[in-house]
């Protein structure tokens, strides 16, 4: 624990699933800008613990990303995506 950190550190940085919170139900594989948030600089899909999404939506996101990769909207692997 750092000196100036409060004891309830975990509660302050509460993670939430952005789909549940904002009521988004459909993940569109055509939206390049939206899907970029779930992908790292090398084009790899980010794990749930980093993005905070729930299991149900993580599956939809990864399915959308794979479709986008098939249609060359997103790359399979690069070095300079962002």
């Amino acid at each position: 624990m750092l000196l100036n950190e409060s004891i309830n550190r975990e509660r302050e940085q509460k993670k939430y699933c952005r789909f549940r919170k904002f009521g988004i139900k459909y993940v569109d594989y055509k939206e390049y800008d939206f899907l970029l948030r779930f992908v790292n600089e090398q084009g790899k899909i980010l794990p749930r613990r980093l993005t905070g999404t729930s299991a149900k939506y993580q599956k939809k996101v990864s399915q959308a990303i794979k479709r986008a990769r098939h249609l060359a909207i997103l790359p399979y692997s690069t070095d300079d995506l962002k």
Binding site: K25, Y26, H70, L71, A72, L74, P75
Partner: protein, 149 residues
């Protein structure tokens, strides 16, 4: 910038698939054309592609035929057919509304009032569908291959 496939060729290929779709049991709900777009990785040694989206309702047999036709056509590099459940259908209906509104406001800002009135009458009519609507995702067309409008 002129794509390898000329506009006429693009339209020809699109019309070809439209005819298949407009046959007996199917209905085209929406069709959209994207600008020439840079691909994330080269396909068939090409770096740009033309995308087309078609949303339609049809029977499974028609879809099979469609896909074999896509495979045979040299002009189409990639295709993806997706079936939409009701959430997907709702999403697309809303998206079309938003796009139509956005186009309207853009037109109003840049052009005369008369032209904006014309645009309003042409706006897309939404067809609420109960069946799962298969959405034929982009067909990536090659510049060298024929075009689909």
């Amino acid at each position: 910038m002129t794509p390898v496939l000329s506009d006429i060729q693009v339209k020809d290929t699109v019309n070809k698939y439209k005819k298949i779709l407009e046959g007996k049991d199917s209905e085209i709900v929406h069709q959209e054309k994207w600008k020439l777009r840079k691909l994330a990785y080269p396909i068939e040694h090409k770096k740009m592609g033309i995308y087309q989206i078609v949303q339609f309702k049809s029977t499974p047999e028609l879809i099979k035929n469609l896909e074999t036709e896509y495979g045979r056509d040299e002009r189409i590099m990639r295709f993806l057919t997706v079936s939409l459940d009701k959430i997907g259908v709702e999403y697309n209906v809303n998206k079309r509304k938003i796009d139509a509104k956005r186009l309207k406001t853009e037109k109003l800002e840049s052009e005369d009032k008369k032209e904006s009135k014309e645009k309003e009458s042409k706006s897309v009519k939404e067809v609420p569908s109960e069946k799962p609507e298969p959405e034929s995702g982009k067909s990536n067309q090659d510049k060298t291959s024929k075009e689909e409008a």
